[in-house]
Symmetry: C2
Subunit: 339 residues, 2 copies
C-alpha cells in the first residue's frame, strides 16, 4: 500500500509475476481498494489472494514511530504472514526506513547478525553482476558489521548466481590495505581472516567492471553510490536522447538503431533487479523503490521467490554460526544481539 | 613527470594550451627528457619553457615520505615556482596523494582552513555543472571541515561559473535534517548559520540533475561518488557500443547518428574538466588523473589560469576571514592551523 502510486503497480506486478513465474501472490492492504483495482484487470482465475490490512504507512512518516504505532499496517501484516509461515517472502515498495524497521521488529535478526543490511545488485560491463551491501540500512557501522555483511553477501551471491567462490572486496578509495578510512582499515584486518575469497579493497569504478562480486561498505557510502548511479543513468539517457533528436539524420539513425537502445536501457534499468533484499533478518524481505513500476514489482517477487527457494536465510544462519565458532578465539568481544 | 605516460601527454597538452589560450607554460622535470620530447613536435616558437627538476615521484610511492625526502622532485620544484610568484598555478597528473601533500607543504594553507579539499566538477542534465568537494583529500573529516569546504566551494562556483548565489548542499541519504550520519547531521546545524544559500541535504542523484551547485562531503564518500561515476560512464559506453554493433541495421543507424554520440561522449568526458583544484592552499594547484591525456592536461591548464585570473585564492582568504570574525561568537572552540 505504501509506494508512490500504490496499489496500481503492485497489482499489475503481481499479475505479471503469477503469469510468468511459478508463484502465488498475497496482496496485503485495504481489501476494498485492492479488490476494486484488481477487478480492472480482466482475465481468468489467477493465484492471487487478498489479505486485509487496515492501516498504511506513508512515505513521509517517521519510520520507527509509524511501525510501532500502526500495528495493522500493511507492512506489519505482510511480515507477520512470513513469520507465521503463510508466506515465503515479503515485498514492499513503500517507505524504506519503515520496511526495514518493520522487518527487523516482526521477523527478528538471525543469530550472529548485529545489523541487517540492504543488498543491491548492479549490472557490469561483463556478463556478471555485482552485489553491494549495505546500501542504506545502517549509516554508522562498525568493522564487525562489515564482516557480517561480507558473510551474508557471499552466501547470497554464491547461491543466487551459482558462483562457487565469489570475490569479496571492501569499498575504499585505493587498493592498498593502508588506504581508506578508520572503518575500512580495521575491517580489512577482520575480513582477511574469514574463510572466503577476500580480494582486498576495491574502488567505486569496480562496481561496474566485473572485477569483484560482493562489495561491502557502510550504508551511507553504499546509498550514495546507488543514488549517484541512478542519477547518472537518468542523465545519460536524457543527454543521449537530446543529442539524437537534434538533427533529422540523427533521428533517422536512431530509428534504425532503436533496438540497440532498448537493449542498452534494459541492461541499465534498475527495475530489472526488482528490489534490494534485506539480509540478516529471519525471513525473506525485499525493499523496492517508492517509484517502482509493475515491472520492478514483478522482478522483486521473482527475487523473493529465488531467495526462498534457495533457502538463503537458513544458509546465512549456518554460515554465521560456523564463523562465530571459529571466530570466538579471535574476537571474544563480539556482541550478538539475538532477537 | 609523474603521470602514467609522462611526459608525453603533459607536453602535448602544454602545446595545445599555449596555442588555444593566452597562457605560457613552464614544463618542470628532467631537462633532457623534456627537451627530447618537445623536439618531436614541429612548430615555430611557443611560449613554453623548461625548468629542470632532477627527481620524480612515482605512482606507487608513499606520498608523504616521497614528498619529504625528494626535495627536488618535479612536484616540489613546480610548486616552489608558484610560491615564489614565478608561476601563477601548478598542474600535476602524478601521484594524487603526493601532489596534495606537496602543495600543502610548499604552499601552506590559507588561514582559517584546517584541511584543503579536492573539488571536482560534474556535468548535469541541465546546462549548469555541479561542484563536489572533497573528492579525496581527507578521509575522516569533522563538521567544521565541511563548513570550510562549503565556503571555499561557494566562492569557487560563484567566481568560475558567474552564479551570484550558488545553492550549497550536504551530500546525505535523505533530504530531512535528521537524515544522514553523525557528521552530516552536525554539519547541517553549522551550515545553516553561514551567510550562503544553504539548501540542506542533497542525495547522490542530485549530482547530475542540476538541483544543486556546490555539494560538500567527506573525501571518502566524495571519492567513491567520483569513481562510481567514472566507472559507470565507461560501462555505459561499452554496453552501448556492443549493442550498436550487434546487427548491420544498427551499425548503419549508428553511422548516421554518430555525431550525436560524439556530443554525448564529450558531455560525459571527465577530461573536459581537466583536473580537480585543491582548494584551501595558498596558491593554485590542480590535480589531474594519472591517466590524463593531452586534452585533459590542456583543460587543467585552462582551469589553473581561470582560478589565477579570478583571484580565487585571495577571495577564499577574504571570505574565510569574514566568516571567522562572525563565527567567533558561535564556535569559540574552532581551531585554525595557520601555516
Amino acid at each position: 500500500m505504501g509506494s508512490d502510486r500504490a496499489p496500481k503497480p503492485e497489482i499489475e506486478g503481481a499479475i505479471l509475476a503469477v503469469r510468468q513465474y511459478d508463484v502465488e501472490v498475497l496482496l496485503v492492504g485495504r481489501k476494498d481498494e485492492l479488490r476494486a483495482e484488481l477487478r480492472r484487470h480482466e482475465g481468468s482465475f489467477l493465484p492471487i489472494e487478498i489479505v486485509h490490512a487496515e492501516e498504511v504507512i506513508g512515505m513521509d512518516e517517521k519510520a520507527a514511530h509509524a511501525v510501532r504505532t500502526k500495528r495493522n499496517s500493511s507492512m506489519r501484516v505482510g511480515l507477520r504472514l512470513v513469520r507465521e509461515g503463510r508466506a515465503n517472502g515479503f515485498v514492499s515498495a513503500g517507505n524504506t526506513g519503515a520496511a526495514m524497521a518493520a522487518a527487523k521488529m516482526v521477523l527478528g535478526t538471525i543469530p550472529g547478525v548485529d545489523r541487517p543490511a540492504l543488498a543491491a545488485i548492479f549490472p557490469t560491463a561483463t556478463s556478471s553482476a555485482s552485489l553491494m551491501l549495505d546500501v542504506g540500512a545502517n549509516v554508522d557501522v562498525k568493522p564487525q558489521n562489515l564482516e557480517q555483511f561480507a558473510i551474508m553477501g557471499e552466501v547470497y551471491y554464491r547461491t543466487v548466481f551459482g558462483v562457487e567462490r565469489p570475490r569479496v572486496g571492501i569499498l575504499s578509495i585505493g587498493e592498498e590495505e593502508s588506504k581508506g578510512n578508520e572503518l575500512t582499515r580495521t575491517a580489512f584486518t577482520h575480513l582477511k581472516q574469514l574463510p572466503l575469497q577476500f580480494i582486498g579493497n576495491v574502488e567505486g569504478r569496480d562496481l561496474y567492471n566485473g572485477n569483484v562480486d560482493v562489495i561491502v561498505c557502510d550504508g551511507f557510502t553504499g546509498n550514495v553510490a546507488l543514488k549517484v548511479s541512478e542519477g547518472l543513468v537518468q542523465t545519460v539517457r536524457s543527454i543521449l536522447k537530446e543529442s539524437l533528436q537534434a538533427t533529422i539524420t540523427r533521428q533517422f539513425g536512431y530509428l534504425l538503431a532503436r533496438s540497440a537502445f532498448d537493449d542498452f536501457k534494459k541492461r541499465l534499468d534498475y527495475s530489472e533487479y526488482g528490489g534490494a533484499p534485506l539480509l540478516g533478518v529471519k525471513g525473506v524481505a525485499i525493499v523496492g523503490h517508492g517509484s517502482s513500476n509493475a515491472h520492478a514489482i514483478k522482478n522483486a517477487v521473482r527475487v523473493a521467490a529465488e531467495i526462498a527457494r534457495n533457502g538463503i536465510v537458513q544458509r546465512i544462519e549456518r554460515e554465521l554460526a560456523l564463523t562465530r565458532t571459529n571466530n570466538n578465539s579471535h574476537h571474544p568481544a563480539h556482541t550478538h544481539s539475538v532477537e
